[in-house]
Amino acid sequence: MTTPVTGPVLVLLDHAADGGLRQPVLELLTAARALGTVHGAWTADADGSDPDARTLELLGTYGVETVHRLDVGDADVRLTPVLAQGLTALVQSAGASVLLLTSSFENKEVAARVGLATGAGVVVDASAVEVADDRVVAAKTVFAGTWNTRCAVRTPLAVIALKAGSVQAEPAAERVTATVVAQAVTVDDGARRVRVTEHTERAASTRPDLAAAQVVVVGGRGTNGDFALLEELADVLGGAVGATRVATDEGWIGHDAQIGQTGVTVAPQLYIGAGVSGAVHHRGGMQSAGTIVAINNDPEAPIFEIADFGIVGDLFTVLPQATAELRRLKG
């Protein structure tokens, strides 16, 4: 049974430079509501800006009552040590019982540092979170998606990083009005010793975020660099395009598209891999997908061991045929 935790649940409101909330934040807010009262942590940009009216309204729709606007002065909040110090102060001033973040590489570092500073138990890459027997319990899969575990936090504060796409985002039954409270935090010199000398935001794609997409179409070495075929299928399915390390190393697609143990972890409803052998490093990032489809001309390819629907065939004939048929069926 789920009983709410005592203190608020503080959710890190990751947002793009233009102030738009990142997609997985709404999932975090949905998960947070089941745990207790929801507060948000908003990092002010260099100009100290608040979330805009539209974002505030959205946050209210998702049940956020209080938004703590974190102001770190002239420190660079993009640096995880800076953000971690700010969040540590917020967690303490809000008396939070849980800190929820999206499980990105940066946020995992933040989680580690907040855990160290506050003595909190930390679980990252979680796929679900609940309160059971008065403790925060997070579910996660380990060993390349071959094991399911549940992990209980023994400390009063739990820091949980949830994987994007694990929770279905749903607005609250009743909307509230989110109020912004400014929180100035002085960051110590230690957190400022790293200088950001270059920072290039990747151009936003019209496709869904890979980490949060419900459908992911993935190309490997077998595509020979022809990602247009994959993009067409992804477009019909409203999905994202991912790749193996071989494909990113070849420069066929950006490194940020790499799925696997050293790339993005995905858990979509549907994964379609074409020309992907299913090496264990890759499987680690996709094996918990709901349905796995594999197209490979080698019947011995390891990916067939985990595929729900495997096609032994040439991707250059199978993919266009599937795409055309899906287009036809959708009318």
Partner: protein, 266 residues
């Protein structure tokens, strides 16, 4: 330049890995290996010392066979090894491990200052990626994590380390003056293989074995007693049922489309 590189002994990623009833990784000793990503860390350290001079010390925390990871680093060219071995450490969570690692780095630094701590981006067993940032915080070192490129140059303010890194939404270049902590990805370099000379030389290299008492770390901060989380359930994921494997006879694309429609995946 004195570099401490962290190496971890983990179950081979290619092998069948399992959790025991206590929620801990089953370490039957048989098919353990150095965490692959730590080979990138060792390589990064070796390259820097080849360029600027100095020494590389490989550090591991773990049970008896964990020394294999240190041995591997020595074969590749590290100069010395440290193995923190203590029964009380078993079952430690990330913070227990970090307390021990930090104490070991401090001890090394007390002998001769440590300029750089290099780690892999994650352990391929637990894969949490929490150690580098937590260790940097514990040691109060600037952190340059997830480096896909790493350079260190002599500058007016001392050594300056520079890393390029790819994040989910951006690419960054970060800089800090040493001492610092760096974690590297598998993009950072191509790890070398040990050669015969390296293997022979490694036999003569010192590996210092330390216990918690040598490091002044209390037994309550480590092990299961100090762990802030506990695994309450662990089960192998059920294998997929109703699997279909077809060989393309010219209509596999159509069958795929039908399958997706039938299973409400479009």
């Amino acid at each position: 330049m004195r570099i401490v590189v962290l190496v971890k002994h983990v179950p081979d990623i290619q092998s069948e890995r399992a959790l025991g009833p206590d929620g801990r990784v089953v370490r039957d000793g048989g098919d353990g290996t150095i965490n692959e990503l730590d080979e990138n860390a060792v390589e990064a350290a070796l390259l820097l010392v080849e360029q600027h001079g100095g020494e590389v010390v490989a550090l591991t925390v773990g049970p008896a066979d964990a020394v294999d990871a240190v041995r591997r680093a020595l074969q590749l060219g590290a100069d010395a090894g440290v193995h923190v071995l203590d029964d009380a450490i078993a079952g430690s969570d990330v913070f227990g491990t970090v307390a021990v690692l930090a104490a070991a780095v401090r001890r090394l630094g007390a002998e001769t200052p440590v300029d750089l701590v290099v780690t892999g981006m994650a352990g391929l067993d637990g894969l949490t990626s929490l150690v580098p940032a937590a260790l940097a915080a514990e040691l109060d070192l600037p952190q340059l994590t997830l480096a896909s490129e790493l350079t260190v140059d002599a500058t007016e303010s001392g050594w300056t380390a520079r890393v390029r890194r790819d994040l989910d939404h951006a690419t960054e270049v970060l800089e800090a003056t040493l001492p610092a902590l760096v974690s590297v990805t598998d993009q950072a370099n191509e790890p070398r293989y040990p050669n015969f000379k390296g293997i022979m030389a490694a036999r003569k290299k010192p590996v210092e074995v330390l216990a918690l008492a040598d490091l002044g770390v209390g037994a309550t901060t480590v092990g299961d007693a100090g762990a802030r989380t506990e695994v309450v359930d662990a089960a192998r994921r059920p294998t997929r049922e109703n699997r279909i494997l077809v060989t393309d006879d010219g209509d596999a694309g159509l069958r795929l489309a039908a399958y997706l429609v039938e299973n409400k995946l479009v």
